[in-house]
């Protein structure tokens, strides 16, 4: 198992957000984590990468206990993050945003600058521009490129379609399917259900900090009552 969460409980101060979340992700597979606003999707990501360490439960990566580990330790083990809101460094140029990830993680990535530019041509055009001057779609491309530059075996994507025009959402879907073709494992948090179902092998639905469904995208698509109750569609 590449990634496993076992009974994770996470709090923000006194507020109990995750109530024993367990999920599993195999190498090369894509898992979508769905749910309404405030269901605990982003908190799940934050618990995995140590931004908000779980109060109890375990996070295992490649069989190793990484609960509450430092972010840089996880990055160096092969976890890449495309965070909610993209979090591009505005005071670094596009090229620097990528170079930072390539050098700091010290992993053999296979994702050279040339390859990144080939996958994301827009970033080459904007290479010398500051991160703050990019459009939302360009920022999202950079956030994905930057995470790939770390050379991850597991990519965590938190709402990559958020606030983007349909054309760009389609482009992001294309990129995710291409990465999946290459055998990259992904954990995808999404509000955009059709996008998520188009790439996922397995779907988990989160509600009020608890997993209420896990199964194939087909099983979810067929369950109208479940979709209505937990996803509002």
């Amino acid at each position: 198992m590449l990634l496993a969460l076992q009974g994770v409980h996470t709090y923000y101060g006194n507020s109990h957000v995750l109530h024993g979340v367990s999920l599993e992700l195999e190498a090369g597979r894509t898992v979508a984590l769905l749910g309404r606003n405030g269901a605990g999707k982003t908190t799940t990501i934050s618990s995995i990468v140590g931004f908000v360490p779980p109060r109890s439960g375990k996070v295992l990566f490649k069989g190793q206990d990484v609960t509450g580990a430092q972010p840089h330790a996880l990055a160096r083990m092969g976890v890449g993050l495309v965070p909610q809101g993209r979090r591009i460094f505005p005071n670094l140029s596009v090229r620097e945003n990528i170079a930072l990830a390539q050098r700091a993680a010290g992993r053999r990535t296979g994702w050279s600058l040339e390859r990144i530019y080939a996958q994301f041509p827009i970033l080459q055009e904007r290479a010398a521009i500051g991160g703050a001057q990019l459009s939302g779609g360009e920022q999202q491309m950079l956030a994905i490129a930057r995470a790939m530059a770390v050379g991850p075996e597991l990519l965590l994507l938190d709402e990559p379609s958020e606030g983007l025009a349909p054309l760009i959402v389609a482009e992001i879907g294309r990129v995710m399917r291409a990465l999946k073709q290459e055998g990259l494992a992904m954990l995808l948090v999404e509000q955009h259900v059709p996008l998520a179902l188009s790439v996922a092998d397995t779907v988990y639905v989160l509600n009020k900090g608890q997993i209420v469904f896990s199964g194939s995208p087909q099983a979810l698509a067929a369950d109208a009552a479940l979709k209505q109750q937990y996803l509002g569609i």
Binding site: Q70, P71, L81, F89, L100, R103, A147
Partner: protein, 293 residues
């Protein structure tokens, strides 16, 4: 004020500004990177000066003092970061302020015990003891040397932060330490290094300033307050802000003392208030990571 006095005061202002910059650069980067207000920064400045004094007294040269004192204070800063500050990052500002203020008080008392409560003067090195005549005006050689060294250090620091890999990590860490970590940057190590480097720069400033400002108990907090004003005026976490903030505050201080001695402290805070009214985040306000489009 005649043109001659104006030019001399301008030189003094530049000297003071650059000494202030060496203090404020560390303070600002530490503040921007770790979100810690290091109230012990002034104590490290004065400790650097006193260590320099002792090194000169024990027969070392001024040059040795300029090298060794920052090194010692840098190591002390590193130990402080590893043992005390590291535990406080997850706590609020109040805990950090109390802890670093406590360190400042302890170091100040230890310095008083070790070096006494007198005004100590450090002679500039013999090589720079004289004066240089430029256009009929006599400039103290040492002050011109401080300007040259200060400007070179400022340029060197700027190149380090803007062009080196570690500098890139520092800039990324200033805007979003968590995300820098997720890209593989060992943020705790970066924090420790920047903290130690900032302390060493403050100590360097303390040694370099000793022949001009002398050394006495209380100088630590005087310098700290000015450096904090610089950080507020220039904006958090940027070298450019620390540089131009230092120029403004340094010049305001020197010219304030020359023109309106009764209001010299007032002059600095007028400048600070004016900047805050027009640019609340400081001249080069801190850039934070973008959240959403």
């Amino acid at each position: 004020m005649t043109l001659d006095t104006f030019v001399l005061q301008l030189t003094n202002g530049l000297v003071f500004s650059l000494l202030l910059f060496l203090m404020a650069a560390g303070l600002s980067l530490i503040f921007g990177l770790m979100d810690v207000v290091n109230l012990a920064h002034g104590a490290f400045y004065l400790l650097g000066g006193y260590l320099g004094l002792s090194i000169v007294r024990w027969g070392g040269s001024f040059w040795l003092a300029l090298l060794l004192a920052p090194l010692l204070v840098g190591v002390l800063g590193l130990l402080l970061e590893l043992t005390l500050l590291r535990r406080l990052y997850r706590r609020g500002h109040l805990d950090q302020v109390l802890a670093t203020f406590g360190v400042a008080l302890i170091v100040a008392d230890l310095m008083r015990a070790a070096w006494g409560a007198y005004v100590e003067v450090v002679a500039p090195p013999a090589l720079l003891a004289g004066q240089v005549a430029i256009g009929g005006l006599a400039f103290p050689t040492y002050r011109l040397a401080v300007i040259a060294v200060g400007l070179s250090l400022a340029l060197g620091l700027w190149l380090f932060v803007e062009r080196s890999t570690v500098g890139m990590q520092i800039r990324a860490g200033v805007s979003d330490p968590q995300m820098a970590g997720m890209l593989g940057v060992d943020v705790p190590r970066l924090f420790a290094g920047v903290f130690a480097g900032g302390c060493a720069l403050a100590a360097f400033s303390g040694v370099a300033a000793a022949p001009i400002l002398t050394l006495y108990p209380g100088l630590d907090s005087e310098i700290l307050i000015l450096a904090l004003v610089v950080v507020v005026v220039g904006g958090l976490g940027t070298l450019r802000g620390a540089f131009f903030g230092s120029l403004i505050v340094g010049m305001a201080d020197v010219f304030g003392k020359a023109l309106l001695p009764e209001f010299s402290v007032f002059a600095i805070f007028v400048v600070m208030a004016a900047v805050l009214l027009t640019r609340p985040a400081g001249l080069f306000g801190r850039a934070t990571a973008t959240r959403g489009a």
